[in-house]
Amino acid sequence: MSLGPRGRLVLFFHGGHSAAQPAPTQDPFLATLSAPTPTPHIPSNYESGANFIIKDGFTNNLNHNWYNHEYWTELAVGDGKLSFDSSDQDSYATAISTITGPFDQPVYIQADLSTDASTAESYGVLFDDHYPTNEFFVFQINPESKQYTLHHHIGRQWYLRMSGVTDLIKSYPAANTIGIYMNKGYLEFYINHGMIDVYQDSGSDFQSGQTGFYANNSGFHVVVTNFAINRTGAP
């Protein structure tokens, strides 16, 4: 859904000779507002090293490290990858890690995601999942439209928080590396090692729930490799 076009207002400023108005007092809040594009916490050549919370090579799921909420989700772990899909049309599918927050310091989640077929649907990383209230966030990409979105799911409702477009998203069949830096109520989103957006919700703690992956519909498998949650040290 998009808002219909409306004529832009063109300003015409008259060059006058009136005395300058005294500058009004600035709201201190403006000084606390970060630059529209802050400095990334994760460099483009980031390597996780040994400071990880979880680093899954996806050899098997014998310890049930991965599970799903929906009975229509088909989940498989092995051969170095996690693969899942929705067998129910118009229903989403998830794959959730049993590793849960809250984490004691800022973390960086990163994984390589691809699909086994070309699709117009979106897929991505799910985080801050709280199963009892069916509440979680999903950061999705759409390789066809190059669009990314951040949704908050509460109960049975979806709330769109952020939506943009970036050419950093690669088209099928290439894998896309998705990264999310989390520091309590602050998030940075990375696609293929470039920061594409930030999001802030001072009243939230995005690190308090479980993490996983998300497919927005049926008709394709999401394939995940190289998944890790890393401690990044001081904010």
Binding site: M1, L30, L33, S163, G203
Partner: protein, 251 residues
């Protein structure tokens, strides 16, 4: 003969001297009476604490059309999270930073709408008020959304452009902007100050206020009856900052 002295007008009459003296005595008595009354007052005030100075409250409150039943007022200070607030359309961002709702458009030349469909219960009369400011001196308008129906994608927009001290009022249906009140002059605060925008809706009778002062009124013969509220940022050139939202409705 000219000797530098004023020309003598002659002796003062005796009756005038008596009259002036009496007048002086009268003033002296009046002064004494006044002192008798004022001195005790001064002593009394010295024993009591000084009058407290008037505190200018910065607490947000409803500026006009306050309801009789205060319990019906819904207030949002964005101190927790944005749970029920979301983007109405793609290309933008809605977030909370330090008790402010921040709305930003990502659409080139296009707007963003942040909305809350469940802020107040449905009613044929409602009032909505919010404090708006921008992070830069915006050259495009911003405004208050009300009467929003999420399903039908319809709403009213009351927008202002502080740089030009102008406001306008629109009615939106999918793909169409109907200008109800074209851009008109009104007093409003310049950047970086906040402006309080209010809308009072009573069965299609709409009153619009800027900082508590009526900007215009309009009667919509085919009014939107939904009560969703929100904020409007005209384009990506600024971030819209909303510090609070008030609303109430009546059946």
């Amino acid at each position: 003969m000219m000797d530098g002295q004023k020309a003598n007008a002659g002796p003062v009459p005796r009756w005038l001297v008596i009259l002036a003296g009496g007048y002086l005595i009268y003033l002296f008595i009046l002064l004494g009476i006044s002192a008798a009354f004022l001195i005790p007052l001064v002593k009394t005030s010295a024993r009591t604490p000084p009058t407290p100075s008037v505190t200018v409250s910065s607490t947000p409150q409803i500026l006009v059309h306050a309801p009789l039943d205060k319990s019906s007022i819904r207030y949002e200070d964005f101190s927790s999270d944005v749970r029920d607030w979301n983007l109405a359309y793609l290309r933008g961002k809605i977030e909370t930073i330090n008790n402010r709702l921040i709305l930003q458009s990502y659409a080139h030349g296009g707007p963003a709408v942040g909305q809350n469909q469940l802020f107040i219960p449905a009613g044929s009369l409602y009032y909505v008020q919010a404090d708006f400011m921008t992070d830069v001196d915006a050259d495009q308008p911003y405004g208050l959304v009300f009467g929003r129906d999420n399903e039908l994608d319809t709403f009213y927009l009351f927008e202002i452009l502080p740089r030009l001290q102008q406001f306008a009022f629109y009615k939106y249906t999918p793909g169409t902007w109907e200008t109800l009140v074209p851009f008109s002059g009104a007093e409003m605060k310049p950047y970086p100050q906040a402006n309080t925008l209010s809308a009072y809706f009573d069965k299609g009778q709409i009153e619009l206020y800027i900082n508590g002062n009526r900007a215009t009124s309009y009667t919509d013969q085919r009014p939107y009856l939904s009560v969703g509220v929100g904020a409007f940022a005209a384009d990506p050139s600024y971030r819209l900052i909303v510090s609070d939202f008030f609303a109430y409705s009546e059946k």
